[in-house]
Amino acid sequence: MNSKMIKRHSKVTIFMHWFNAFCWFFLLATGLGLIKNEDLQLMGGWWSKLMYSIFGSGETLLLFHEICGLTWLAVFIVYMIFGSGKYVIPFLKQVFTYSPATDLKWLIKKNIQMTLGNKWLKRLGFTPDIPDQGFYNVGQKLFAVASILGGIVIAVTGLIMFLSNILLNNTALVQWAIVIHFIAAGVVTGGLLVHIYMAAISPDERPAFFSMFTGSVPEDYAEHHHKLWYDEIKAAERKA
């Protein structure tokens, strides 16, 4: 595995990733804690009690949730304004570009491979080739799209709730915002579980996990997991 390293992530990307991750965990934990009403609490009453005892009271919990949420939003707005050309638009192009036929093939085969193993892939009659992937694979792209759309919904509904007792007078809007905020967070959290497993626990993607700290991946990893991206880089190198 002692191959040359290729640059994959900029320092800004790495910062935004871990900033987003930290905010997500904090907001998820405190947000769930705020649902003190046990008829509505997904985790059962113990989670709210735990959060209340950590933060001292419901109002402190709410305050921290609001501060963290607004900071998260502010940082992302700054990122989207100043990083639009360099980071945001290229990223959006990557994750919103699909080629349905090979993507579907990849999704089916990769899911079988990850859950049942290569033996079953053969037994179920699939050919062992798995479509080559670009900078992101289809799974990563789909999770990226889910977290972008989920993030927008969460930000908008969160702002509505924050402004509810500042300038809004439409209580039905706020009530729907609470429920939609909750559902969107749930959907992204589902994807987040898979994301964490793939990146941090699964041995296949270990180099990608380290690249979220160092910024680079070994060449052979890139060639194996992101062949199309690897080829592009090699072609660019040859040109230079």
Partner: protein, 247 residues
Amino acid sequence: MMKTQLAMVIDSSSCIDCKGCMTACKVENNVASGHWRNWIKQHDPDFYNQGLQGDASATHFQPGNCMHCDNPTCVQACPTSATYKNENDGTVKVNEKLCIGCGSCIPACPYEARYRRPDEKIVDKCDFCESRRQRGDLPACVTTCPTKARTFGDLKDPDSDVARLLKGNNLVRVVNRETDTQPNIYYLSMTAPIDWPVKAETPTAIQLWKVINPFVWGFVGLNALGVLVMLGKQLLIKDEPLEVEHK
């Protein structure tokens, strides 16, 4: 169960509709213009349908305010429990710092005891004059009432006036038949109306939340299951390599 349950017993037949309780409350609690924390309902005589409880042939005035119910539908509608049943005195309280003014509790109260403050945009209602009670006074409406229609005290204390009235008299709770919130304001049985016309309504969004919870659990759970299967496969199954891996 509550150790203390503050409550009121109201003899509505002695109410003369002077609006003294409403005025005193408004002044005491700085209630915003156009809103009230308490009320006097007027029941007009019905000469055609006899058999109503109370004197159907006379106009009747029924004072009321937040009933600090034992089955508080407002508390059940509040997502954050900013509205809660206070275990110390049995009142239904609002934590103003936790309330974001979503208004879910407002239609959830059949008595329409709640309103959204126009300036702070958070919910407000009767708190049995907490600040007055802290200095040992009775609620403003009780003190003001010239005919002493309102009696206030701890229902769980057998020596209190309300407990004595509860024991010695035929008292009723004025409730909506479909949504009985088990209020802690009792009326002498000669009161009208006896059937409260307004139902407790939980907002659609909050009702939907209860329905959607299992689906959110299901979705997150399915993802978790997928992860567990992958983890199990990673730890337990020695996989053979794919034949065509590097092209």
